[in-house]
Amino acid sequence: MTDKTILEKIKNIVTPYVQRKEGLEDFSDSTDFISDLKINSANLVDVILDVEDEFNIEIDNTSMEGMLTAGDAKRIILTKMEN
């Protein structure tokens, strides 16, 4: 799976929770889930569960702590998929 495919899948996962839709227009590694997309912090856990299902991985609590941007999510997914 390429970086671009992973990023595209992350974008699809977060879209239902996004409160600031303009933030999706230039979706990239640096897109911040909370400050750019205004995803409610209570919904971040839903994003994490959807990521686990989509990529068939388990995101432990330490990884979850650092999942603030699309790039963070991508790196965590890539690491977990290698294992």
């Binding site: 909370i34 400050s35 409610n40 912090s41 209570a42 919904n43 971040l44 856990v45 839903d46 994490i48 569960l49 686990e52 609590n61 979850m64 702590e65 650092g66 999942m67 603030l68």
Partner: protein, 191 residues
């Protein structure tokens, strides 16, 4: 230090809320037990979430910490319940924060403070799109300065700070938005 959090009860809770996968990512087993055993679990779940969010803000500001998504590090306990006013504590590592919450038919609002019984001013608004203006008006009264002197800028950790005439003040406040509601809390110790 203070933090505050408002929750609009009209916004539905995650459909996953009953699944252990969901609960285990947000709540310790003792918290889950209180939630599940409650006669209104979706309210208590959101109450605990607001405890954690308010304490997170107070804690992050106090130590100027980078942002982190670590809800499990914050452990909540209800200390007293009187009608819909709830007092609680939140522990993170060796630190303890005190919380005061109010549950109404439409929202839950929580404030977390480092000390118990500190002087705080807070306001909750519905359909208010200019919360910062409301905060500036409040500071204008408290500090006897024109509200046009005030600006809010975020520091490198995204923590909002109050500036007066472009000079950083030591004012301690917290802003929160959710759905139809917004709220601020101000510590009156520095005013």
């Amino acid at each position: 230090m203070i933090g505050n959090d408002i929750i609009d009860l009209e916004i539905p809770i995650s459909p996953n809320w009953k699944s252990p996968r969901y609960l285990n990512k947000l709540f310790a087993s003792a918290e889950q037990e209180v939630i599940i055993k409650s006669d209104k679990p979706t309210i208590i779940l959101r109450l605990f979430w607001s405890f954690k969010e308010a304490a997170y803000k107070a804690h992050q500001r106090r130590f100027n910490l980078p942002r982190k998504y670590n809800p499990l590090d914050f452990q909540c306990e209800i200390i007293s319940e009187e009608k819909n006013n709830i007092q609680g504590i939140v522990k993170i590592k060796s630190q303890t924060y005190f919380t005061l919450s109010k549950i109404t038919a439409v929202n839950i609002h929580s404030i977390a403070t480092l000390e118990k019984n500190v002087a705080i001013n807070f306001k909750i608004y519905q359909d208010e799109f200019f919360l910062k203006d409301k905060l500036f008006a409040e500071y204008s009264l408290l500090l006897k300065e024109s509200k046009y002197n005030f600006r809010i800028k975020k520091n490198k950790h995204d923590i909002p700070q109050l500036f007066s005439n472009d000079l950083l003040t030591s004012q301690v406040f917290s802003l929160s938005h959710h759905g139809r509601f917004s709220a601020f809390a101000i510590s009156l110790m520095n005013c």
